[in-house]
């Protein structure tokens, strides 16, 4: 089966610009998570979708971040306007419904805001 796909793999944008990251989970995985690792620090939770619904968005840093999951399939994470401190690696993961399944992570999007 195809894994979790993230696009783009790298993005360099100027402060104030908008960037949209995309994640395609494994087909049939209802759970979709966004995490990010900033400046070599720990990997932190951003939000969790179950199908198209936001189950938990407690990790979203501020209202410059907007996540959507159209029709319960792929998800996008938009940062508008981007700030320098948003630089880092953004990871998406998916898992099957239920508590007995581990995550499969995508390769991440490395975002650099200059």
């Amino acid at each position: 089966e195809a894994g979790v796909t993230q696009f783009p793999s790298h993005s360099v944008i100027e402060k104030g610009q908008t960037v949209t990251l995309r994640c395609d989970p494994i087909s049939g995985h209802d759970n979709l998570y966004w995490y990010r690792r900033v400046m070599g620090k720990e990997i932190k939770f951003l939000l969790h979708f179950v199908k198209e619904s936001k189950q938990d968005e407690s990790g979203m840093p501020n209202n410059r971040f907007l996540a959507e999951r159209t029709g319960g399939t792929y998800s996008t994470l938009k940062v508008q306007p981007a700030e320098l401190e948003d630089s880092g690696v953004y990871f998406c993961a998916s898992s099957q419904q239920g508590l007995n399944y581990g995550y499969t992570f995508g390769s991440g999007t490395r975002l650099t805001v200059v």
């Binding site: 932190k44 189950q55 938990d56 508590l99 007995n100 995550y103 992570f105 390769s107």
Partner: protein, 106 residues
């Protein structure tokens, strides 16, 4: 929230050596996983192990849920094992530890 403590933070091994990485949790979790971030930045799921012991080749993991810790064993280490090892635990969402940076030298 749940606190995750990993040890050691850094580890240098000679190729062929064995090692044990540890992860302590501040509270009970039912979704405990180990990941390897390779030098290309990819996060690879090694084990989903809320309790018990699992083995996959040279790697094995043991979780003692009642004592809120998990161990990752790497035997006969190879240079390709280098990278950062993360444990993560929680319920739906998981909290990551800060990782153990492993370098295996020839």
């Amino acid at each position: 929230g749940i606190q995750v403590e990993q040890s050691p933070p850094d580890l240098i091994l000679q190729e062929g050596a064995n090692s044990t990485l540890r992860c302590n949790f501040s509270d009970s979790v039912n979704n405990l996983q180990w990941f390897h971030q390779n030098p290309w930045g990819q996060l690879i799921n090694l084990f989903y192990i809320p309790s018990g012991t699992k083995q996959n080749g040279r790697l094995s993991a043991t979780t003692v849920a009642t004592e809120r810790y998990s161990l990752l064993y790497i035997s006969s280490s190879q240079t390709t094992d280098s990278g950062v090892y993360f444990c993560a635990g929680g319920y739906q969402k998981v909290t990551f530890g800060i990782g153990t940076k492993l370098q295996v030298i020839p």
